[in-house]
């Protein structure tokens, strides 16, 4: 019987000219905690590094493209991820006193833990919104930053970031999960398929036997989220959540546990088995250790497995 616990962290090292981005991410992520947002454990200013919980299944982008020959995500998992991201967005958008907009929502910023539970990450361009002249909440910029295919066309044109910008990106993500296709012109493809009653032909077959009623519902929701005009987009709280919440419940009933944990990290220990105080101490220790030994590789992911008890011994000595 082993006496030690193993925990893992993920260290994101940023370019030296992104100090502002780093401090902003820390500012936002220390203010918010949600089961579907990445958990920021610490930050190191000297090397511009952020330390998160390690999420062993990588990004949704990697899993959708089956990078490393991982099995395709089942429709049950995809449905759950849609619901999880929806809940995270509603949480951010209803943040008080100022709403938070993610601003760069895309599959590569959605990370998956050992059980394929999704966590929204990369708050590099996230912003708090302030009231504008028209009493709607916006963040104004002359230089919109975002990712092609996922970014709100109105934001790219006018530099006005609002909650609706995240809703657009969310719509594109739903369409990708449904079809498994590249996001280029995905809205038009799905729209054409719906008009011609051919939706079944463009659904990603690798997701399994996705109930067609759900596919239709999700496609309709996604199209409303990804409407070109911001004011015509769906409202996450009133239009989207009631539908996906019901779907999530149904999907979890029929989900097969073995498929959802097929690429599970065997060393994972439930976090509530670990003492929060000792975890923080271990982390601080490891952080300073690597900083002083210049172990960080710039813009490279460093994965660190910590032997908890060994690290505690070092701390005590």
């Amino acid at each position: 019987m082993s006496q030690f616990h193993v925990t893992s962290i993920y260290v994101e090292v940023m370019q030296s000219d992104t100090k502002f981005v780093l401090s902003f991410q820390v500012l936002i992520l220390t203010k918010v905690r949600h089961p579907h947002l990445v958990n920021l454990l610490g930050a190191c200013d000297e090397v511009s590094a952020l330390v998160y919980d390690y999420l062993p299944n990588g990004s949704l982008e990697d899993r959708l493209s089956c990078k490393g020959n991982t099995p395709a995500l089942t429709w049950q998992v995809r449905t759950r991820i849609i619901g999880e991201i929806c809940s995270a967005l509603i949480f951010l958008h209803s943040h008080k006193p100022k709403p938070i907009v993610h601003g760069d929502l895309k599959p590569s910023n959605i990370l998956l833990d050992a059980d394929l539970v999704s966590k929204l990450g990369d708050f590099g361009i996230a912003r708090f919104l302030v009231p504008s002249d028209t009493s709607t909440m916006v963040h104004l910029t002359d230089h919109p930053i975002g990712t092609m295919f996922y970014s709100d066309p109105e934001y790219m044109a006018h530099g006005e970031l609002t909650q609706g910008s995240d809703v657009y990106s969310f719509g594109i993500i739903i369409l990708r999960l449904l079809t498994g296709r590249h996001p280029r012109e995905i809205v038009k493809r799905v729209e054409d398929a719906m008009i011609n009653d051919e939706l079944h032909t463009i659904i990603d077959r690798s997701a399994g036997e996705w109930p067609f009623v759900q596919v239709q519902q999700l496609a309709r929701i996604a199209m409303r989220c990804a409407a070109e005009k911001r004011r015509r987009r769906a409202d996450l709280v009133t239009d989207v959540w009631p539908v996906v919440e019901t779907m999530m419940k149904n999907a979890s009933l029929s989900a097969c546990p073995s498929t959802s944990s097929s690429i599970q990290d065997e060393s994972s220990v439930p976090h509530y088995f670990l003492c929060p105080i000792l975890q923080v101490h271990v982390l601080l220790h490891i952080e300073s250790f690597y900083v002083h030994d210049s172990y960080f590789h710039p813009s490279e992911v460093v994965l660190t497995y910590i032997h908890m008890d060994a690290a505690n011994e070092i701390r005590r000595s």
Binding site: S2, Q3, P270, F273, L274, C275, P276, I277, H281
Partner: protein, 58 residues
């Protein structure tokens, strides 16, 4: 955790760690809010679950 104890903030800690913390603080290590009291109670349910987990796993 070998000896999980629950503090007044409702979170569970390693007994040794929370006692060391309470020697220098009267706040919760998780929330930083003042603790109602500095009493910690053994969390026997969690202790059993952890022991079962350790016996099952590698």
């Amino acid at each position: 955790m070998k000896n999980p104890h629950i503090a007044a903030d409702g979170f569970t800690y390693e007994a040794e760690a929370i006692e060391e913390w309470l020697e220098a603080h009267d706040t919760s290590p998780m929330t930083n809010l003042p603790l109602r009291n500095c009493v910690t109670i053994p969390n026997s349910a969690l202790r059993l679950v952890i022991q079962e987990h350790l016996q099952r796993g590698p």
